[in-house]
């Protein structure tokens, strides 16, 4: 594989950090401040896009920033998986920024400068995770994401918000120190390196005196240490973090936080352990069943949530496990489906959260049971909601169908019939918690007994509606033109399974 030396990944990370300075000094002039946010977002996206042709040509971009200690480097590597995630995150940051501006201004949120600053820091760190060349670099940026999103989750500073944010921090920081760092210690101790390898670090040292028990323990520590992936039973931070402003929830759920979690899980599976080794140990299947449990249980819990954001949160927990499930199947199609689901779920879920935020801004409604007839009052929003929900359920012609398709093929390849059942059941459950909302919004009359917090409901501000329309169209486009993403996903699947 050809290696290109370039500092572009560093620029992609640094651009929003530099923007932080500008955002901070222009705090008193909101328009200028927001200009810097948008400029940084657009610039970041263009840097990421500029690396795309190189990666599609089968090359890898590498850049080594510094060595902290022998064996502990901060270095970056842009491969297909990294750029896949970076493209998704940096594009959605642009959209989220526009949406955020509309949201915080129409609600007159306090501490807006702090809000935009930490948003930018979180995105920098997300790029860092995407482009990490080793587990140490990943760990650093993983922790930076946790710390920088804390002020966003705690934004409202009410006792409730602080409680939720504290839970968020305890789960994410706690597990990463107690388990993930432990696993990193063990990995470095056994392998002497943390550098991601296409076939897996442990796969490369197979037969060098590392016992199976050691590998299993390390694997469990890794999975338990990545609570951002919200695998049960380490999921309950996610509903608690719903106290955050809606754009933050959207960012958390679609881009920065949870996707970082599953991305790191994918990295651990593919690049630290390796497909062959996990298949040998039977750990892939174990993880797949673990993820299946989360998929089903979280969907059932979602059915019972009346708070719209809480329902979406449980839906996220369930959908994230699709990604883990796919990669745990350890077959090319399973991996393709898993990686495709990163982008497909991102677009779908961010649309749903944008809609939830728009409904809140326009009507101050937060509950599913209050949404009767809202489709007529907010047609664009609810249309976008419908498209995204169909994608979540996994029906054509929405993007979500693609990943589910590949996941099912992957399950067949792996010979795991029960997994196919899980996928089918979860599809039905997804329909069960999304379709009633759509039905109520469009076909029910507003319930006169529920007092309207706002006398007349109109669409949310244009910036917000435009953003959510855009991402909804994205969901549609991803079905018809998944070319770049699908190509990248197939490249990844080919490289980690040794090209077969």
């Amino acid at each position: 594989m050809e290696i290109v030396q370039s500092a572009k990944p560093l620029y992609a990370i640094a651009v929003s950090l530099i923007a932080v300075l500008f955002i901070a000094v222009s705090g008193k002039r909101p328009n200028l401040r927001e200009f810097f946010t948008i400029a940084a977002a657009v610039l970041k996206f263009s840097i990421v896009v500029s690396m795309l042709p190189t990666v599609l040509a089968g090359k890898v971009i590498e850049y080594s920033l510094l060595t902290i200690l022998p064996g502990l480097d901060i270095s970056f590597k842009v491969d297909a998986l990294g750029i896949f995630f970076a493209l998704t995150a940096s594009f959605l940051w642009i959209v989220t920024s526009f949406y955020s501006i509309g949201y915080v201004r129409s609600l007159n949120e306090h501490a807006q400068t702090r809000y935009f600053i930490f948003f930018a820091v979180a995105l920098s760190a997300t790029m860092g995770v995407a482009f990490s060349a080793n587990m140490f670099t990943t760990f650093i940026f993983y922790e930076i994401i946790t710390l920088s999103t804390f002020p966003l989750v705690a934004h409202k500073e009410t006792p409730e918000a602080m409680k939720g944010a504290r839970k968020y921090l305890i789960y994410l920081l706690g597990t990463s120190i107690a388990f993930q760092l432990f696993a990193i210690f063990l990995t470095y101790y056994a392998a002497g390196t943390l550098e991601f390898s296409n076939l897996g670090i442990f796969n490369n040292i197979k037969g060098e005196g590392v016992s199976d028990a050691f590998l299993i323990v390390t694997f469990i520590l890794f999975i338990a240490g990545i609570a951002k992936a919200a695998l049960m039973p380490l999921h309950s931070w996610l509903p608690a973090a719903m106290v955050a402003p809606t754009p933050v929830s959207a960012l958390l759920h679609a881009v920065a936080v949870v996707k970082t979690g599953v991305f790191v899980v994918v990295k651990v599976v593919l690049h630290i352990f390796g497909v062959n080794l996990l298949a040998q140990l039977g750990l892939g299947t174990a993880l797949a069943y673990f993820a299946s449990f989360t998929i089903i249980v979280a969907s059932i819990i979602a059915l019972r949530q009346d708070n719209l954001k809480a329902r979406l949160a449980y839906s996220t927990i369930s959908q994230l496990s699709y990604i883990i499930l796919g990669v745990a199947l350890l077959t090319p199609s399973g991996i393709t489906g898993s990686i495709m689901h990163i982008v497909l779920h991102a677009f779908g879920k961010i649309t749903l959260f944008f809609c939830a935020g728009a409904i809140y801004v326009a009507s101050h409604k937060t509950k599913v049971s209050e949404l009767d007839g809202i489709g007529k009052q907010m047609p664009f929003t609810m249309a976008a909601f419908t498209l995204a929900a169909i994608s979540m359920i996994g029906l054509p012609p929405m993007g979500g169908f693609l990943s589910k398709w590949y996941l099912i093929i992957g399950a067949i390849e792996a010979g795991q019939t029960p997994i196919i059942v899980v996928l089918v059941v979860s599809t039905i459950l997804n329909a069960g918690y999304f379709l009633p909302i759509i039905y109520a919004a469009f076909f029910k009359e507003p319930n006169p007994e529920i007092p309207n917090p706002k006398s007349k409901i109109r669409e949310a501000p244009v910036l917000m509606v435009a953003s959510l329309t855009l991402t909804a169209i994205g969901v549609l486009l991803l079905f018809f033109m998944p070319s770049v993403f699908l190509e990248l996903a197939k490249m990844i699947a080919a490289s980690v399974t040794g090209g077969n």
Partner: protein, 504 residues
């Protein structure tokens, strides 16, 4: 013409001792002079230690004969990778803290005591540097006494009457410790007839099984564990740190227990040989258990505190556990971690105490609630606090992570994986007691209760005076700098570790 560079190892001590005599006299003319002299002398000491570092890096080892008397008859000062490392830490922290001291001392100490304070401060520093430099056991005892007596005095000048009690407690326990150490020295002298450390190293091995030598070793270990406040011999420390003036808490937390740890390493690994610790007495096993308990107990007790200085003191008890744990694992990686933690903890705890000093200077409050809403009022100080706190938790890119990495790796290399969960658990506990403070700094509103009229100016955004702020920020910056450029101190610590484990 005397070549001055030849005599730097003794000059660094002499100028500090001399300045202790000059400062009260100069203070009689103008009380500001005493501060100027302190800063100047500690700065020169720091420069000297840098130049000594250069020489050690070039030649490997410096041996200086006091008065030209040849060892083992005369007193020898020996500088190797280990103690130049400690000397640099002591002299640097002494300089930074003295730079910071001016405003804080003027607020916390009665005016007529100020020049005496600086005089004792210099004695304290001289004692610590002497303990670090000397290669002679009795000389070591002398310097231990100098620094201890100075420390009792420094604690006693604290603002509240409790300071006297704390000082008295420390005096009693410190004297017991010193007596133990003196007994140990006496016993070794009795059987070998020498006080020179290098000489003892050669003479002792045939006597390792002797009851006298074993007793001497026991006296040393217990006495020094008391000095470095190893759990459960730490009980003097929380009160001392809590009631001492802020400046004193900072300098003591950053240097004095560290030098105690250094002396323990010196006795365990250079006066005695590694084989002794491993084969003759089960000292490392005992220390492993005690240090693990210290790490957990220190953190748990820290969580229970409401006085922030006391919280930091208990946190120190835990951190000392790290240093001892790393040393007791007896392998290259863990020993490096232990030594690097001596530096790292000095920087982190120094920063924290300096920030608290600034808060006390501004508000007079030592309680955790005093930090509420301070993020807006003292933004720079609080940023320094946050950096140091994250470092204590061990977030990567800060110095705390480097120590933890080495000690955890050392534990794994030694085949004792069960120390890794202890380290990680203590990180979590540390996160608990620091995060609640960070949260109240940034996410809670400031105290609105009427405050002491003397401190009313804090209502507006108003950070500490630059004289306090700059030293604090330098130390906080180092928390990050040595967290990223970790190879700089690590390269020295590695050499020192291999010297300790592999022979002189």
């Amino acid at each position: 013409m005397i070549n001055i560079t030849e005599h730097l190892p003794v000059l660094i001590i002499v100028i500090s001792l001399m300045s202790a005599a000059i400062i009260p006299i100069a203070g009689r003319f103008n009380r500001h002079y005493s501060w100027y002299i302190t800063v100047a002398v500690t700065f020169v000491s720091f420069l000297i230690s840098i130049s000594l570092l250069n020489r050690v890096l070039n030649t490997g080892k410096i041996s200086y004969w006091l008065g030209g008397w040849q060892p083992p008859w005369g007193i020898e000062y020996v500088l190797d990778y280990l103690n130049i490392f400690i000397l640099l830490i002591v002299s640097f922290i002494a300089f930074i803290v003295s730079l910071y001291a001016r405003h804080s001392i003027e607020k916390e100490i009665a005016e007529h005591k100020i020049s005496t304070f600086y005089s004792v401060y210099m004695l304290f520093i001289a004692g610590l540097m002497g303990m670090t430099l000397t290669g002679d056991l009795f000389n070591l005892y002398v310097f231990i006494e100098i620094s201890s007596l100075a420390a009792y005095t420094l604690i006693a000048v604290g603002r509240k009457r409790n300071a006297l009690m704390a000082s008295y407690n420390y005096l009693i326990l410190g004297t017991i410790a010193a007596t133990f150490i003196l007994l140990g020295i006496g016993y070794l002298y009795m059987v070998t007839g020498t006080l020179n450390m290098a000489d003892l190293r050669e003479l002792l091995p045939p006597l390792y099984e002797s009851k006298v030598v074993l007793t001497a070793f026991a006296f040393f270990t217990v006495g020094l564990s008391l000095k470095l406040a190893l759990f459960p011999l730490h009980i003097w420390l929380p009160n001392a740190y809590t009631h001492a003036p802020s400046v004193v808490s900072a300098i003591m937390a950053a240097t004095s227990t560290k030098v105690g740890a250094y002396v323990l390493l010196r006795i365990m690994f250079t006066v005695f040989k590694v084989e002794f610790d491993l084969e003759v007495v089960p000292v490392t096993k005992i220390l492993l258990v005690l240090s693990s308990v210290a790490i957990i107990a220190g953190s748990v007790l820290a969580i229970a505190q409401t006085n922030i200085k006391r919280m930091l003191a208990y946190s120190s008890v835990g951190q000392i556990g790290y240093i001892v744990l790393g040393a007791a694992l007896i392998n290259q990686t863990a020993m490096t971690g232990s030594l690097i933690h001596i530096l790292n903890h000095a920087i982190m705890k120094g920063t924290l105490f300096l920030v608290i000093g600034a808060v006390v200077y501004k508000t007079g409050i030592e309680d955790i609630s005093g930090l509420r809403g301070m993020g807006k009022k003292m933004p720079y100080s609080m940023a320094a606090f946050t950096i140091a706190a994250l470092s204590m938790i061990g977030i990567p890119l800060t110095v705390g992570f480097v120590s933890k990495w080495y000690i955890a790796m050392g534990a794994l290399n030694a085949g004792m994986w069960y120390f890794v969960p202890i380290i990680l658990l203590s990180s979590l506990l540390t996160a608990v007691y620091f995060w609640r403070i960070i949260e109240s700094i940034y996410f809670e509103d400031a105290n609105t209760e009427p405050q002491n009229a003397e401190y009313s100016q804090i209502r507006n955004p108003d950070d500490a005076p630059l004289g306090m702020l700059i030293p604090t920020l330098i130390l906080a910056g180092l928390c990050l700098f040595f967290g990223v450029a970790a190879f700089l101190p690590v390269s020295i610590a590695e050499k020192a570790a291999s010297m300790l484990l592999g022979g002189m």
